[in-house]
């Protein structure tokens, strides 16, 4: 029974399971209509599968020349392209493991940092009545209006002003001190580091996480907390011992939703990072397409595209139930 109510709450599950019980009593579909609708469904399936089969076939091909004719069904299963991409993903001196590490560091780090800060704020907004509540809530909401690219200019300039330079012996930390004009060698530029990109990415991740978690906390019944408060628990104890454990599933969902987004993050790293050793997988994929791709065999590009897509697709499919119900219970309602 619980499983049933659970499934009706969730669009994807509902989408996949719908109507199976109702068909039993329903009237039969006339054969000619069945055939007509089957043809339609197959045409749509072909449309969906066209690019997927194209890229899968390409990635399993061992041919390094560009495709001369259309192939949508693999004629060979060769992992050569995957092997080449993993051995030597780009012309830059960076290994696949390092790219993977950078992408994971960025998406997991930003996700966790935003989550830890956001859950505190969400708790305050959801459970307390205080003077500035509505003003502060609007302040958290405003950045969500701005397309993420809109803040990239000032974030670039700000991060760029934190530098550590070696002025021939003395170390100068900008913006507090700098070497004489024309002197000094920059050892570290916050803008040109994964840390700087991560900090900049939090600016969009945080408001989203606050709204998503607040929406969920609002749905948790308050009786438990009230009972604990009567027993003498202070708000901190209530938060750590009751609210946090109850919110754990939603924390996980918010984290994975963030992860899906951060894993694809391209604009900020591509703008900030100049050192190949801090590149991410999505930046590498960009380098394999279009004007940069002249020398890159398409089977390798295809393999890389599938590698970049896999973590997101797997997360989605594994957590589809939680993700969709998490989305509907959270942020949207505000």
């Amino acid at each position: 029974m619980t499983a049933h109510t659970e499934s009706t709450k969730n669009p994807i599950v509902r989408f996949l399971n719908m109507n199976t019980s109702r068909e039993v009593g329903g009237r039969e579909l006339p054969l000619w209509r069945q055939i007509l609708l089957q043809v339609l469904c197959l045409v749509i399936a072909a449309e969906v599968l066209f690019p997927i089969m194209y890229i899968v076939t390409l990635s399993f091909s061992s041919r390094e020349t560009r495709p001369a004719s259309l192939e949508l069904i693999p004629t060979e299963i060769s992992f050569a392209a995957y092997k080449q991409v993993i051995d030597r993903p780009t012309a830059n001196p960076i290994t696949f493991i390092e790219l993977l590490r950078n992408s994971f560091l960025l998406s997991v780090g930003v996700g966790l940092a935003a989550l830890m800060i956001a859950v505190l704020a969400a708790y305050a907004f959801s459970r307390f009545k205080f003077k500035l509540r509505s003003v502060l809530m609007v302040l958290v909401f405003v950045p969500l209006l701005m397309p993420a690219i809109g803040l990239s200019t000032p974030l670039y300039l700000l991060m760029n002003s934190f530098r550590i330079a070696d002025c021939g012996g003395a170390i100068a930390i900008s913006p507090f001190a700098s070497c004489a004009v024309g002197l000094g060698k920059v050892m570290f530029n916050l803008r040109d580091s994964l840390l700087g990109v991560g900090i900049a990415m939090i600016s969009t991740a945080l408001p989203f996480a606050v709204w998503n978690l607040k929406g969920y906390l609002d749905t948790i019944p308050k009786e438990l907390e009230e009972a604990a408060a009567i027993d003498g628990a202070d708000p901190n104890q209530v938060f750590f011992q009751i609210v946090l454990p109850l919110a754990l599933p939603q924390l996980a969902v918010t984290f994975f939703l963030g992860f899906i987004g951060h894993w694809q993050e391209f604009a900020l790293p591509w703008l900030f990072l100049t050192q190949p050793e801090s590149y991410t997988l999505s930046m590498t994929l960009y380098n394999m397409t279009g004007q940069y791709a002249n020398s890159i065999p398409w089977n390798r590009f295809a393999a890389m595209a599938i590698i970049v897509a896999l973590p997101v697709a797997i997360t989605y499919i594994a957590l589809q139930k939680q993700i969709v119900s998490g989305l509907t219970s959270g942020g949207v309602k505000g």
Partner: protein, 338 residues
């Protein structure tokens, strides 16, 4: 006496704690947002009134070479005075709106029709179709864009190869060589005369259609399930045709679910940065450029930081206006439903 004052003091103390506690929980978030959101927003406005360029990067706003230019950046952007080729703010804005509207106008009806199709009682292999149709939702848009970019390649792309095979069925031998992403002549010139809709636009519409309708089908399927079956039975007893049932029962009852989804789709398409950037980069000749990709180009390649800041401020107001309008639309529909 002593005990009452102690109680009062304890009460005062707990009152103080009560007022302060919520703020303590907000401190981390607002400290972080102060540094990476609010300060940058203000900094952005300050920079937008200067001619900040690469030479000023070392010293920032303290740079001696930095000039205050007043609203010059804003005037340049709106009046076409930027030292940038093929850029006209109002053309990009019109194109951007057109791009978002035409996408949604295709995705929503297609999503609904396919949801209704999948909802037909007695249809075979329903589950298989459903699990197939969901695939575009789970693939990152950035990967989708790169793949379609290759599909639309002039020489080796799958689309031209597909069209070649199709043309062969009709007896043609010449390979199809459509320059999807490079050709600048608009195939339908009278459509949106303000912004030339190049072939690249149509190519992107095809790719984004693939990406967009399954989400709408997902939402519509959920809403379809909540429509009571007896409505259709009553209608068919009264002699309503399938088309009449669709127009008079399905469409009105789907509306409350589809309007928020449409607005979500509109804003997503309006700011679809990585998809546009990966597929065409705004080309050819900026014909498929949207506001966010141009903002990015101003910083990343043109390095006109002052103009980029001014442009972002303008984009912020465009986003705000769109939000206010869509918010009103959702509110209006909510009222109708309730």
């Amino acid at each position: 006496m002593a005990s009452t004052s102690m109680i009062e003091r304890a009460k005062k103390k707990s009152d103080f704690r009560k007022t302060v506690t919520p703020y303590m929980y907000l401190v981390p978030a607002f400290l972080v947002m102060a540094v990476i959101t609010f300060y940058p927003l203000i900094y952005q406005v300050v920079v937008s009134f200067t001619d900040f360029q690469t030479k000023d990067l070392l010293r920032g706003l303290a740079s001696e070479k930095l000039n205050q230019v007043g609203v010059q950046n804003y005037v340049d952007i709106l009046a076409g005075g930027l030292p940038v080729q093929n850029f006209d703010f109002f053309r990009v804005l019109t194109y951007n709106l057109w791009w978002a509207i035409t996408n949604v106008a295709l995705h929503v009806p297609a999503g609904i029709v396919i949801a209704v199709l999948l909802n037909t009682p007695g249809l075979w292999m329903k589950r298989i179709y459903r699990s197939l149709y969901i695939l575009p939702v789970v693939i990152p848009p950035l990967v989708v864009a790169t793949v379609w970019r290759n599909i639309f390649d002039e020489q080796y792309g799958a689309m031209n190869q597909f069209l070649t095979s199709a043309a062969m069925l009709f007896g043609s031998i010449d390979p199809v060589r459509i320059r999807w992403l490079e050709d600048f002549t608009p195939p339908i010139a009278w459509l949106l005369p303000n912004g030339p809709l190049t072939l690249a636009y149509y190519a992107m519409m095809i790719a984004n259609f693939w990406l967009g309708w399954p989400f709408m089908t997902l939402v519509a399927t959920g809403a379809l399930q909540s429509i009571p079956k007896d409505l259709y039975e009553a209608a068919s007893i009264d002699g309503a045709s399938a088309y009449q049932q669709f127009m008079n029962i399905t469409v009105p009852l789907l509306r409350p679910a589809m309007i928020p989804a449409t607005i979500y789709g509109f804003t997503t398409s309006f700011n679809l940065f990585s998809f546009v950037f990966f597929m065409t980069g705004g080309g050819p000749a900026r014909s498929t450029e949207i506001l966010v990709t141009f903002a990015y180009d101003l910083v990343r390649n043109l390095r006109l930081y002052g103009a980029a800041a001014a442009f972002s401020v303008i984009v912020f107001f465009v986003a705000l206006i769109i939000f206010l309008i869509t918010n009103r639309l959702t509110k209006a529909t909510e009222n109708i439903v309730e």
